[in-house]
Symmetry: D2
Subunit: 293 residues, 4 copies
């Protein structure tokens, strides 16, 4: 036996530790309402958009396509965590304003990342969901701060975090008073370098067993290659994810950030068609936003 | 060098290194005939059976169920690689004889593991497919030996092998003169201890891009928990695997080996029903053996 | 891209990316002055003290022992990053005041962790060195904030960060205008569970080759077991570390945090004797603070 | 706490599992006699030589230098495990004959790798110590075969093996009837690609606590860079290793295998001088072979 210490019993003990995040707290599973979009129910929710907000034209073109093709929530980064200080760091508040404009035009709720406790309040004014990135999964002051917000929070799993650490991080937000936490598996670091990260789809059924919180999968970061995203998106739906977070760009070749893993609008369209058929066959279907025509 | 840095470009270069295993050698993909069962075509092949052959009653009961419920190939270990010298090591040739009897009764071809160069010939006499286990992925004398067999070989990926190392290991078998190599992703070791291994489903599309060889997924070892197997099996089919290798036991609670990850016959039946619907929706279907009623 | 493939050649290229942190910037190596203690010179600097500041009695007793036994800098956490929101989170400003008192009594400069951009200024008022913990290695707003301080910063390597990511994180601080960055290897996560982390002593010569910044080793977090700390401390000095960061507690059995990895004062004394002999044999010696008697 | 499940208690339980390898079996530690060289005593034993035996001139030149400079055992591979089937696979029996000649000339006992059960007997005829490589740590038929030899066996730790798995693998050899097992830490695979492997020096004190068997360290494979080898060799001695296994080549630039990590004879000489001073300061000293002049 490889991981001989592996057992769910240990986790059962730990549900004492995450007494808010633990499944026992809501055995039927929590549904989170993001400005009208229900995450955690039977249907699969699609969050899509560019990695970074770059310009009005880029964002609105992409947002319109996402909405036309059945996406439910618009993603786009205004504050970008970049390994190098010399890389593009995002448009910051200017980016948030563009997201607001895109929401007005498309009716799509907006998710965007927040990295700094000092701008949480500002981001709350613009966003429908706050995203905490992988690198900040254990940024405890930030977790405490978003715990005091009224907006839902999507907490991405750290690159090498165990599920135990992950649920304890979610517990910080819940303990702060914010009950609307969405989990997101986005790939772990492995020894394989042919892809950017390695999707851990085992995490989906295990997180849903251990916790009542909805679980989203991000196959864009989980693979790093646009051509792999639709395959892993299908796998994520088949394994039971409550939704997907996907990078789409109106012009991936010229993206300022993560171009190689961004779907073009046409690739997104094809993927959505496949997901419609697949999710139906699984008795689920894709979520249809009320504002959709 | 072990940690050879590699990205997809380098993989393109490396197709020089695996000039037999590389996709360029058969761009439409290789179909391998295992005593009448075609692996690598449109349809999904199911290999199922107990971890270890334990007794005639255990094996035949399980084999009959596998055949009744649409399985195509019977798995069962006669030589077992066990971490401890004091654990059950398998029935050895007695186990091979039972596999032969099960094949006669059910018509199912048989796959079983071989670990020692000295028994390759003997195992060839009984088995339809030779399995090389994860721990032996880089057992080069063994790879050379099975390279000289006429029987197909299923080579499992090492627990932490890169795809580059994996395809080079396959190359050993191909270079030895045996063209019938089947790949098998069975989970990698990660930091997560809630499951035995972590399925790397990214590997499926990437292996199929880099190589023309069929790719099987083993969700039993990939999770270590019977309750997770059906979810990951669905994900594996959705991501494009050519087939599944699944542990099924007529009495998992009393299995001598890997009971916690073995499906009961009833669980296997339910999984097969789900996979039928799912694979159909994906335009594939499950493979129907010619000997099936 | 996270998994950027890198070999030493690429590191040479990347010195373009970390043009401030790169060795070429100061080939003879940078010596950082921490309130009179020189880090990065020939001699080995010892930073020691409790994981967390717990009380005046605990801190002063430990601080006096550290100073008596030849320690150069006092460590102690006032803000503690804890996996669970229900664990002791540190005494916060009260802890900083106790550190100040300990410095007044012993003459030892003080190092303490800062996690939140909003308290950087406050921590600067009390501390001689700001510590950025592993979990915050890529907390970019925090790196930018301490980049604007006049106090030296010790940046711990992330639990699974590559050296490339690590030096880019240091580059954030340097690019912000703060030239006084100290690196610290504190163990990586591996599959081994017999120790809390796995010391990566390869990192020491490699970091010193790639960068001109001083490199400290933390064998307390790097092992998680007090009995292992002296052995790894000796190894760290032998491999070329500029100093050590060690947890010492006047009563490890009752520590509120990390007791099992804290040396007792007696264990610290024995270790210091061994290090004196070893560092002398290596032609280095332990650093002797000017305020020492 | 990161690896929260980490505890030595679990290991204490497992000493039931490795009741031959466990420390309780010989609390004062086992000393193994390799044709007159004692491994596991106070003094540090040096095994050195080329990665692969390439020619008589290469081997004899290197062997003479190793002996002149104080090495105790000559290493050299006749059967080489190579990732690619198209790489140099070793001189095989011809290489063994050259090793025998080198032993006759220098008086140095010889260690060489065996990979195939079918040649164990032949290798026993030539070698003083059989080496089992990392990739074969869990090649159970091979472990059983060398368990029946009268020659000592050096078992290298698998690239990502836990210490628990490692000691169980040693237990296979001991249970087979061969009491002379030497352990060897040679680096684990980590996410860092700036070095070939990552030395896990934590393993040395932990293995010595858990087991009575001697522990050797291989800094050549553990780093992959000749320039790093002396630093890590010093660290290994400081942490308590019973000896070192080091690659030395009379002409590293033209080595058929692992040239970049092979010390030149001059580099080896410098390292030996440093190790003499260091080991003396630690109260140990280098082992002096009786046949040495």
């Amino acid at each position: 036996m490889e991981n001989e210490s592996c057992n769910t019993d240990q986790f059962d003990l730990n549900t004492l530790a995450y007494h808010r995040a633990g499944r026992h707290n809501n055995p039927s599973g929590t549904i989170i309402d993001v400005s009208g979009v229900k995450i955690g129910g039977r249907e699969v929710v699609i969050m899509a958009g560019p990695c970074a907000v770059e310009s009005q034209e880029q964002l609105l073109t992409t947002a319109n396509a996402v909405q036309d093709l059945g996406g439910n929530i618009l993603r786009g980064g205004a504050f970008k965590p970049r390994s190098s200080p010399y890389s593009f760091q995002g448009l910051e508040e200017e980016g948030l304003k563009l997201l607001k404009k895109a929401r007005q035009q498309t009716g799509l709720p907006v998710i965007t990342e927040v990295m700094d406790t000092r701008v949480v309040e500002m981001v709350c004014d613009y966003a429908d969901v706050l995203q905490i990135g992988s690198r900040n999964m254990q940024n405890f002051p930030l977790l405490k701060e978003v715990g005091q917000c009224r907006k839902p929070v999507m907490l991405k799993r750290g690159m090498n975090a165990t599920l135990d650490e992950y649920l304890l991080a979610a517990e910080y937000i819940l303990a702060g008073g914010n009950p609307n936490v969405i989990l997101c598996e986005r790939g772990i670091r492995s020894f394989e370098t042919a892809y950017r990260n390695t999707m851990d789809l085992n995490a989906v059924p295990m997180l849903k067993k251990l916790s009542h919180l909805p679980v989203i999968v991000d196959p864009s970061h989980g693979t790093g290659h646009a051509w792999m995203v639709p395959d892993l998106a299908k796998a994520a739906v088949a394994v039971g994810a409550d939704g997907l977070l996907v990078e789409v760009h109106n012009n991936p070749d010229n993206a300022l950030c993560d171009g190689p893993q961004s779907l073009s609008i046409q690739q997104f369209e094809l993927m959505m068609e496949d997901l419609k058929i697949l999710s139906k066959a699984l008795g689920r279907g894709l979520y249809v936003s009320e504002n959709a025509i």
